[in-house]
Amino acid sequence: MPQPPKGMSDRDFQAALRRIREVAGSEWVFSSDEDVELYRDAYSPLWGEEEERVASAAVAPISVEEIQAIVRIANEYRLPLYPISTGKNLTYGGSAPVYSGSVVLDLRRMNRILDVSLRDRSCLVEPGVSYFDLYRHLRQEKIPLWIDTADPGWGGLIGNSLDHGAGYTASDFRDHFDAHCGMEIVLASGEVVRTGMGANPNAKTWQVFKYGMGPWVDGIFSQSNYGIVTKMGFWLMEEPEAALMVNVTAPRRQDIVPLLDILTSLIYSHTILSELQVMSPIMNGSPDPELVRLRVAGAGATDQEWARYVESRNQPCWAASFCFYGAPKVIAASWEHTKDRLAVISGVQFRETASYTFPLTDEQVDAVADKPRLGIPSLNLFGSRNSPTARPSEGHLDFSPMVAPRGEELLALTSVTGKVYADMGLPPPFVGGWIYHRRGMIVFHPVSTYRNAEDNQKTRALFERLVTACAEGGWNTYRIHANFQALAIQTYGFNNGSLHRLHETLKDAIDPNGILSAGRYDIWPKHLREKRA
């Protein structure tokens, strides 16, 4: 049988579950081994080890009232709860709690799309609404609005945004927390709060204006454990007339500096609105000895040495891909202007990879190769690793440091991480930057996880070194797997960790019994904090 949380007697645990069954109905309380197995993190870097974070049970309420009642019971027994929305947070912890023994508060049954406003280009949803659900609804109802989806469409708007997830369409929508407008939260006390204009019971502008009046508190409910979010509003993108996907390549290693400078200028001046990716076909090529030598040498390798290597491969050193949205005339002008600006890079090449006019038929939707850039949810990223030629991937963790979108930064960071990989006897990591957020670039490093302890131990050691080495270089991760949240928060240690102390002060005030998501982003309730110290 699953174990109750540490320090809680089995009698109290069973009594709490009994009370919760009375509230939610016994068929919605899951407490067998088989049940708990379903909430394991399939990508856990601690898979099968004693420290793997596992739930003790789960409950799936259907309403805010049920959540309120469950929270009150949890307070009585000091029962730790771990709310999830769609529960697909693979690479960052799956649906497993951070604190073992927590009861997962599974909100997937609360999956109503409460409102879609065509005129305000917004929606209001419950936690269980997945990207697939909302996309299907918009298409069925022929509503010409786009969602912005994370790569796997099985995640959902609320869970993803609360973990600071991101997508691929226009800049107003990609940073999912930034694109939300208004929340409803059940606090640890059981009280329900609405933020922004939603605090007016007669509000007509809950999904129109974010701030309401007074301090804007929404931010404290993301990457935290201060409340259970039960509704959120999001802004949606108006379906454009057309889209053009393009690719730009630049030949030399040092071209990354002007390439990113010009592309970011085009982003900041709103010529390019879509998510933009830049990668190095050369550096990500199969790691022959010369490539490994150059990569490990980092700043020690000269432009001439790189030039010789690049020439021998007959490939451009950099490839950037992005997309234009709008009326065909506007797209054509934006693309022309982009080409004019980039023409200063000698040898730059331009390619149009796909163009679309909307709305698409179902067959056209199916045929879109790069679905997320058109707001189409899919599972393509899993499939692409499944082609006849590719090796299927393991599970992985995303090491995701944030850098300023500058060429020098991309090179400097990947030379630091390249050294970490080399010191551990591993081939150099992937070199690429993703501009999801308005001003930052994420340099993903996928780090494989396994179903065996020996390999996972190496994975954890690598991951820890990456976190530390990058933080020393001034680059922090923007989001991280539950297993490394404590380490990552330490790297945000200005003034002896004053930010973390503020997080704890808030926790003590809002959730004095520490019943919600203990340990998430290293925010522990007092009684567990002291034991951990």
């Binding site: 088989e34 049954r109 899919s378 499939g383 499944n386 082609s387 006849p388 599970g395």
Partner: protein, 214 residues
């Protein structure tokens, strides 16, 4: 216009099919007596020659088969999930590892589970190894099916298609079959393919008709 890759794959598929003209007369796995699962959808990855052959066999036997390429996102969004929202329905297929991983994970939300999964992996010397994972009660059926898969040589995928179509209803999803491991085990010469059946499990899901407001 088919892409170059599609063209080559179709060519290979055609050659596999041509090499297996007697599929219908092969000694085929499956229960001839007793009730078999009624399949709502049979999906196959036609980008593999064996997937295309599996699909052709399923179609020729009247299965509601659907080519899904190397990812199951579209069939999930447009067909399987809308169906499961109304109630359970049995699906089966021959796909790569990642597609099956996704479908297994999603199936759990709807109270569906794997009845069996057969892993078909190249051995490196031109052969194929078949490993069937399923409930205890499967053992006899499993042993028999494995023999037939092996005996079919390069025509194994047609046998696999018959297996999924003839899967006895008495075989139920076994909760002890854990989620498929995304990592390909060491020592396998190339990507494995999986034939499988997903059916209603004893443990109900969090989603689906049952989960709605009362």
């Amino acid at each position: 216009m088919p892409s170059r890759r599609e063209f080559i794959q179709r060519g290979i598929a055609a050659s596999v099919l041509a090499a297996c003209p007697l599929t219908s007369r092969l000694a085929l796995a499956g229960s001839s007596s007793g009730k078999t699962y009624r399949l709502f959808k049979v999906v196959f990855d036609q980008t593999f020659a064996e997937g295309a052959a599996f699909g052709a066999e399923a179609v020729s036997r009247g299965a509601p088969a659907r080519a899904v390429g190397s990812n199951a996102g579209s069939v999930w969004m447009n067909e399987i999930e809308p169906r499961w929202k109304r109630g359970p329905a049995v699906i089966a297929g021959l796909t790569g590892r990642a597609s099956l991983f996704c479908l297994e994970l999603l199936a759990r939300d709807y109270g569906m589970g794997v009845v069996y999964r057969a892993e078909h992996s190249p051995t490196g010397d031109g052969g194929i190894r078949h490993v069937i994972t399923g409930p205890e009660s499967l053992s006899e059926w499993q042993a028999e099916s494995k023999t037939r898969l092996t005996a079919a040589g390069q025509c194994w995928s047609a046998v696999a298609a018959r297996m999924v179509m003839n899967c006895p209803e008495t075989l139920e999803p076994d909760p002890s079959i854990g989620l498929l491991d995304l990592a390909q085990p060491a020592g396998i010469a190339g990507p494995s393919l999986f034939s499988w059946v997903i059916a209603p499990a004893k443990r109900p899901g969090v989603l689906g008709e049952r989960a709605k407001r009362g």
